[in-house]
Amino acid sequence: MEWSEWALSLAVFIPALGAVVTMLIPRAQEEAVKWVALVTTLATLGVVVGILVDFDYDKSGQLQFQVNNDWINVINSRYHIGVDGISLPLLALSAFITVLCVIYSWNHWPEPHNPKAFIVLMLVLEVGMNGTFVAQDLILFFVFFEIVLLPMFFMIGVWGGPNREYASIKFFLFTLFGSAMMLLGFLAIYFKGPNTFDIVALSDWAGQDLTHSTAVLIFGAMFLGFAIKVPMFPFHTWLPDAHTEAPTVGSVLLAAILLKLGTYGFVRIALPILPEAAEDWAPFIGLLAVIGIIYGALGCLAQTDMKRLIAFSSVAHMGFVMLGIATMTSFGINAAIFGMVAHGLITGMLFFVAGSVQHNFHTREMSRLGGLLTQAPKMGWILGFCAMASLGLPGLAGFWGEFPALLSAFEPLSTLSEETFRTYMVIAAIGTVLAAGYLLWMLSKVAFGTPKAEFADAEIHDVNAFEWTAWLPILLLIVALGIFPNLLFGVTDDAVCVMTDKISEQVGADSTCDEGGDTVPVAEHE
């Protein structure tokens, strides 16, 4: 068999194999368990790197490494997987972050310990995450989307903080509700549409035979499913609780990958399959997005718990991503994908640091912390760096998620209201000031000043070798993407243009992609 036919399946199912192997190892043999986890995730990353190398970037608009086999014939659902420029970065992010989570956990197992169970859950989680990003069939997508749910539920429910049961069930029920809605939408598409679950075929169909009101309603069902996962205001209340209670690695995976499943769903499924309904929903989605930006920032300002603050900041950041998507333009969706990756790296990193701070001080109450820069200078500087990245400093990755999203809001798809989206742009831009506010205040409370009396003599460990190994790749990537945004835009742009051009055509709007893409825009004048 050809490598290209197996690559994606390997990337999805190697972690499953690793999970099975782990289950066979006795609980007491922790070293063996850890090594299996590391080897598994590294192998998965290796496969993904192979895919990155073999990927034809000139044709990033087409699905590559495709496999399209029979699966559940009775409902015409197929095992159809593939990657294009939109899903590739997210697949890579997922494989990448999981490895780092294993490394970070090496000596950091949260209570009640039990690395074996934890690792099984982490590997199952990876199956779901990777699978969601490659699935090209709605049922397959749904299955992977749901696989993610259980491991995270148990991670929070077992290894979480004091309020873990409440948080985990809240997380579970919220997302389950969303999933149910989403499935409802998928089924409606199947029965009302061309009796297929194939995402590619459905994107070509693009909701043509539906009456407008039905399409709008179906979009609404999918919207709920994805918006809860993102999470968008006002469906976000599960997020701060889940993050606050989750163990560090759980928070990192939740922030870095799981939230992206929702936004990815919008880009991959909701927009292309029902573009006309999306157009109706866009101003509303944009509105919720900018409310989320301001509201999330204000929520951050009210926090006293460092981790909960970072959790709330996700609501604001994902608002920028959703604003980009709501404009339905090439610029906006490129920005959204960049924003997803950047937020995954930066917020994931912030959760790592918050986890290590808690590990050191056994508290995350910012009023008790202070002077991190004196006690653990390296960690303090990393926190400062991440805060700067998170507030969207140009030259670091976060900026390229925000700025093009704002730009796209100035000129959304030509059939959308300019005034509305320009208002959103200004509001979102004001959100960047608030973001600077809560991040810098957090930084000054945690890192500046002198250590509080209770910790003045405490022995505080600065960044250790495992932390460096887990963190350095993320930090370097944040800088690299900030300086060379084309590392990512270059991959996504063609795929996004193919998609947005189709959407523009469907709704009768002007293309938002420049045909030639030539270097110098030469003025047209006589």
Binding site: H113, N114, A117, V158, E165, Y166, I169, K170, L173, F177, A180, K192, S213, T214, L217, P234, L298, G299, A302, Q303, T329, S330, N334, G371, L373, L393, P394, G395, F403, P404, L406, F410, V426, A429, I430, T432, V433, A436, G437, L440, S444, A447, F448, G449, F484, P485, N486, F489, D493, V496, C497, T512, C513, D514, D518, T519, V520, V522, A523, E524
Partner: protein, 733 residues
């Protein structure tokens, strides 16, 4: 044209130096300072090379020998864009094209966006100023920061700042300019908060960052709009500055006037934030919490003029957007004019020498923005040029006073006085800087300020001529007061025990591993050593002579010639003839101001201690001492409201309304669905709890009962909602 084509090296070298100092600085013999000095020195040499080559290029163009090296961007030229333009070309003098060098930065929507350099007179001038002052500050800091607890980080941050500022200067597109702009902001944040152990310092740093960030909302929106200005002008969106200027100046396809206005207004907000203009100037005096070399470099000579630079760089946007050519008042001139006066007024009531200088900087930046606002483009950047030297000089001299004469205090009333005897060289250089700032003939400030006034008088901006003259009067007076308090009268510092060290610099004490000999930190007031004096004298020389580049009285207009923008893509600039009468009047006004202050402080003439006797005067002084209550408004009203009640209310809504909305709905639904509820309670939620229980037991932990019944409501509501939605779909279908 090596130096021009490769001007990207100028920012790159300090950027590399930043990385090297960060990684290896602590292990270097001089803890990284040698690396910083070497890197900035190299950049300075390259910048000088670029300056020489640029001047040659201008010279070649004048002789008509220029090869029209139509690069990619020549396409924007007005000689192409407009028909029959050749006839007028003569009036504008020769066309000197800027030098470009760029590559693809990123691709979006099928459009390649470039990163690259645009080198012309303006950027060459800025490169020269930034690298020179940065080099001097690097040298000065060797002694001034000696023994500082974060000496190496200080140099790393200086390098990063220099790199960012140079990036901003050479940028050929507004997006890259924005990148540099934000990066200098971060460096400013790092350096203001250099001694972050003390809360006032970190608060000042955060205040500076947030205030400028508020202005940056304008920058974000403005830069976005520049993209669309170019799109309207050329048909394809771009951030390219020359394309922007040509589009805005109207040489290409017509651009919407509304768009230009909003673009100008948004960018003006950015200028207000960065360049300390009213009403966002309040961060600049607080920024004095940083080390003095930082104040000289960042908060006097370079970063704060980034706003003015932006205004000059994309001037056609302002010129057309705000209709500068035809009006007699506009937003930009008004902002600048107000800032001139309010800044100068506040300088009178400061006891801290650095704060006097900070308000003076605000006021002088006001002159520059006002100059742009009245159409005097060359005057604005000329004043930027001269001001950089004499204001950096004044700050560094003030640092010298504090360092060697006042036990690290900056309080003129408590710890200074009579220092001219102890610190003759510092005194002389400070006097030179002051005279230049006052605009005394023939020092640097005279020429540049004169051009601004000339610009205001020749347009219909008479009001701003008056503002400029009043500002000159006030400047002379408050600087005379400052000199009196610092250098004349009796020395008030006393011995070390009685000094009240400035809180920010109090901890500035040598480390144990400080290998250089102590140079008398604990002695009485004395002259500083040569690390500090050498930069002062260099700056003093520039403060005297820099004005002669454009000594219009003697028909020397080299500065105008060298910095003239490419007329093909720029609006037409005014040209002013020297006006002897105006020059005499403005000098007389300055001297009068100095004389008034002299009479008041030296001779004790005039109403002394008026504010203690007269209620009105007291109120006025109180108003000034409280900085027009703007800080109260920002910090205690706006920020406190957002951080306090607003944030808390939002969070309260989050916890008690949104989070519970399903609960409330669930309670209502419960009445109708008792039976379903019971089933659900038993089967679904308990089932879930048992499920966790099993796992948790195996993990060796006890499961506690779910804390509330909230979740049960959730579960019920969720199922119900799915059902309702399914029904709705069914009906709609």
């Amino acid at each position: 044209m090596f130096f021009l084509d490769n001007a990207w090296l100028v920012p790159l070298i300090p950027a590399l130096s930043f990385v090297v100092i960060l990684l290896f600085g602590k292990r270097m013999p001089f803890k990284g300072s040698e690396m910083g000095i070497a890197a900035v020195g190299a950049s300075f040499v390259l910048a000088c090379g670029a300056a020489v080559q640029w001047i040659q290029r201008v010279g070649d163009a004048e002789e008509g020998g220029t090869e029209h090296a139509f690069g990619a961007f020549g396409a924007f030229g007005r000689s192409i864009g407009r028909i029959g333009e050749e006839a007028t070309e003569g009036e504008h003098g020769p066309i000197v094209e800027s030098v470009h060098n760029s590559f693809t930065w990123f691709q979006n929507g099928g459009i390649d966006l470039h990163v690259g350099i645009q080198i012309d007179g303006l950027s060459v001038m800025m490169m020269f100023v930034v690298t020179l002052i940065s080099l001097l500050v690097h040298v000065y800091s060797v002694d001034y920061m000696k023994g500082d607890r974060r000496f190496t980080y200080f140099y790393a941050a200086l390098s990063l700042f220099t790199a960012s500022m140079l990036l901003l200067v050479v940028a050929d597109n507004t997006l890259m300019l924005l990148v540099g702009w934000e990066l200098v902001g971060v460096c400013s944040f790092m350096l203001i908060g250099h001694w972050w152990e003390e809360k006032p310092n970190s608060d000042a740093a955060i205040k500076a960052f947030l205030t400028t960030r508020t202005g940056d909302v304008g920058l974000l929106c403005g830069v976005i709009m520049t993209y669309f200005v170019v799109q309207q002008g050329t048909g394809t969106g771009s951030f390219n500055i020359e394309a922007l200027n040509a589009s805005a100046a109207g040489y290409l396809n017509p651009v919407s006037g509304t768009l230009l206005f909003w673009c100008a207004a948004a960018l003006l907000l950015a200028i207000i934030g960065k360049s300390g203009q009213f009403p966002l100037h309040t961060w600049l005096p607080d920024a004095m919490a940083g080390p003095t070399p930082v104040s000289a470099l960042i908060h006097a000579a370079t970063m704060v003029v980034a706003g003015v630079y932006l205004g000059a760089r994309v001037y056609p946007v302002f010129y057309e957007g705000l209709n500068i050519g035809e009006a007699n008042i506009n937003l930009m001139a008004a902002v600048g004019g107000i800032t001139v006066l309010i800044g100068a007024a506040l300088a009178f009531v400061q006891d801290d020498i650095k704060k006097v200088l900070a308000y003076s900087t605000i006021s002088q930046l006001g002159y520059m923005v006002m100059a742009l606002g009245v159409g005097a483009w060359t005057a604005a950047i000329f004043h930027l040029f001269t001001h950089a030297f004499f204001k950096a000089l004044l700050f560094l001299a003030a640092g010298s006073v504090s360092h060697s004469g006042a036990h690290h205090s900056f309080d003129m009333k408590k710890d200074m006085g009579g220092l001219r005897k102890y610190m003759p060289q510092t005194y002389v250089t400070f006097i030179i800087g002051t005279a230049a700032l006052m605009g005394i003939f023939p020092l640097a400030g005279f020429w540049s300020k004169d051009e601004i006034l000339l610009g205001a008088s020749e347009g219909d901006y008479t009001l701003f001529l008056v503002v400029g003259a009043v500002g000159a009067l006030m400047t002379a007076a408050y600087m005379t007061r400052c000199i009196y308090l610092t250098f004349f009268g009796e020395y008030r510092g006393g011995d070390h025990a009685h000094a009240t060290p400035h809180v920010d610099e109090a901890e500035h004490q040598p480390d144990e591993d400080d290998r250089l000999p102590d140079h008398g930190h604990h002695g009485g007031p004395h002259e500083s050593n040569r690390w500090i004096l050498a930069p002062l004298w260099v700056l003093a020389a520039f403060s005297v002579f820099a004005g002669f580049f454009n000594a219009t009285w003697f028909d020397i207009e080299k500065f105008t010639e060298w910095t003239a923008p490419n007329a093909e893509v720029f609006v037409e600039l005014q040209h002013h003839e020297f006006d002897v009468l105006l020059a005499l009047i403005s000098t007389a006004i300055a001297l009068f101001g100095a004389a008034l202050a002299y009479a008041y402080y030296w001779r004790g003439l005039g109403p002394q201690r008026l504010s203690e006797r007269n209620g009105l005067a007291r109120t006025g002084k109180q108003f000034l001492v409280n900085k027009y209550y703007l800080d109260v408004l920002y910090t205690d009203v706006i920020v406190a409201f957002v951080k306090g009640p607003l944030a808390r209310a939002t969070y309260w809504v989050n916890q008690n309304v949104i989070d519970n909305v399903l609960n409330y709905a669930g309670k209502g639904a419960m009445v109708f669905g008792r039976f379903t509820y019971d089933v659900l309670d038993q089967k679904v939620v308990d089932g879930a709890v048992n499920g966790i229980g099993t796992i948790t037991d195996s993990a060796g932990s006890e499961v506690r009962k779910i804390q509330t019944g909230r979740l049960q409501f959730y579960a019920f509501m969720l199922v119900l909602a799915v059902g309702v939605f399914a029904l709705a779909l069914w009906i709609a279908a």
